[in-house]
Symmetry: C2
C-alpha cells in the first residue's frame, strides 16, 4: 500500500534510493565507467533526479563515502568493546581481522575509493572535500587507537591519526595487488601478520611494565 508522503519525505526517499543504486553501479562499473543514467535508471528515475538531489557525480560519490565512513567507525567502535579482555597481541590481530573483513565484504569498494582519490586529487575543491571526510574518518579511528593504547599502557612515536592512516594504508596498498588476482588465497592470514607486526614494531611501553 502506497503511503502518502510529504514533499520532503518523498525527496528524502528518492535521495536514499539514488544512493543505493549509485552504490551498486559504482561497485559494478568503477567510478569512471559508472554512468549517472544507469544509476538513475536502477533507482527508477531519470538523470535529472540525480541533479535535483546532488550537485553532480562527484557530490553523489562523496555522499556515499560519508555514509560508508560513518558505518565503519561505528563498527570499529563495537569491535573495541569486544576486545576489551584480550591481551595486546590478540587485540592487534582482532583489529587486523576487522579491517580485512571490511575489505572482503566489498573488495571493489576499496578500488573505488582509490579511483575517486586520484580523481579528486586533480581538483582543488573536491580534493579538499575528500580530505575533510578522510581526516574525519581517521580521527575517529585515531580515538579508538588511543583507547587501546591507554588500555595496554603503550604509546607510539607518531600521532594516533598517523597510526590509523598507516594501518589502513597497508590494506589500501595491498588491495592494489589483490584486485589483480581475485583467486588469491591466505590473504587474511598475511594481512593479520602484517598489521600485528606494524603495530608491534611501532608501540613502545609507557611505564616499566613488560609489554609483549
Amino acid at each position: 500500500m502506497a503511503v502518502r508522503l510529504s514533499r520532503s519525505e518523498r525527496k528524502e526517499r528518492t535521495r536514499s534510493e539514488l544512493l543505493a543504486a549509485a552504490r551498486a553501479v559504482f561497485l559494478r562499473e568503477g567510478f569512471h565507467r559508472a554512468a549517472l543514467e544507469q544509476i538513475a535508471e536502477e533507482a527508477g528515475f531519470t538523470k535529472g533526479a540525480v541533479y535535483s538531489n546532488f550537485r553532480g557525480k562527484d557530490d553523489l560519490f562523496l555522499a556515499l563515502l560519508e555514509e560508508h565512513y560513518e558505518q565503519r567507525v561505528a563498527a570499529h567502535r563495537r569491535l573495541l568493546a569486544e576486545l576489551e579482555l584480550r591481551d595486546l597481541e590478540e587485540t592487534r590481530r582482532g583489529i587486523a581481522r576487522a579491517i580485512y573483513d571490511a575489505y572482503e565484504r566489498d573488495p571493489g569498494w576499496w578500488a573505488l575509493v582509490a579511483d575517486f582519490s586520484t580523481h579528486a586529487s586533480r581538483d582543488p575543491h573536491l580534493r579538499s572535500q575528500l580530505r575533510g571526510l578522510r581526516e574525519q574518518f581517521l580521527a575517529g579511528m585515531a580515538e579508538l587507537i588511543e583507547v587501546v593504547a591507554a588500555r595496554h599502557h603503550v604509546a607510539f612515536p607518531l600521532t594516533s591519526q598517523e597510526v590509523a592512516r598507516g594501518t589502513g594504508a597497508l590494506l589500501r596498498g595491498l588491495m592494489l595487488d589483490w584486485i589483480l588476482d581475485p583467486e588469491g588465497a591466505d590473504r587474511a592470514v598475511v594481512f593479520e601478520e602484517m598489521v600485528a607486526a606494524f603495530l608491534r614494531g611501532l608501540a613502545f611501553p609507557l611505564d616499566g611494565r613488560r609489554t609483549p
Copy 2:
C-alpha cells in the same frame, strides 16, 4: 646533423620518443584523461604512430611500467651495496628513505599506477599482464630483502615476496591520502618510522644472537 637511420633504428627511436611523451602526458593528466592524440603530438607524430608501435593505450602504459620497474630494481640493488656496513635499524631506515625518495621524485606516478591497476582489474587479460609485471618486480625486491635478512641473520613469518609487497603497500596506501594534501610536511620522517616499525615487528632473529 641528421644521421641516416635504418628502418628498424628509426622505429626504435619513434617508440622511445613516444614512451617519453607518454610518460609526460600520463603524469600530467592521469591515466584516464591522458589522450593518445596528445601523446603522439608531444612526440611529434600522429596517433597512428602509437598504433604502429603499441597495441593501444593499455599496451603503451604497460611498456612504460616495465621500464620503470626495471629502473627501480636496479636502483634498489645499488642501495643495498651502500647499506652493507650499516646495522639493521639503519638498513631498514635506508630502505624506507629510498622508497620515499622514489615517491617524491614523481608523486603522480604512484597515483597513475593505482589508476591503471583498478582499470586493469576489470579486464582478465590486461589484469594478468599487469600482475606478471608486478610479481616480477616484487620478486626482484624480494631477492634484495633476502640478502638483507641473511646479512643480519633474521627471518620473517612471511615469504620475502610478501614482505616486499607489504613494504610497498605502506607507501601505495599512504599516497592515496598524500595526494589530497600536496602541502603536507614531515612525510619522509613518518614513512621512515612506519617502514622501520613494520620490518622490525616482522623480523625475528635466526640464531641465538641479539638482533635489535
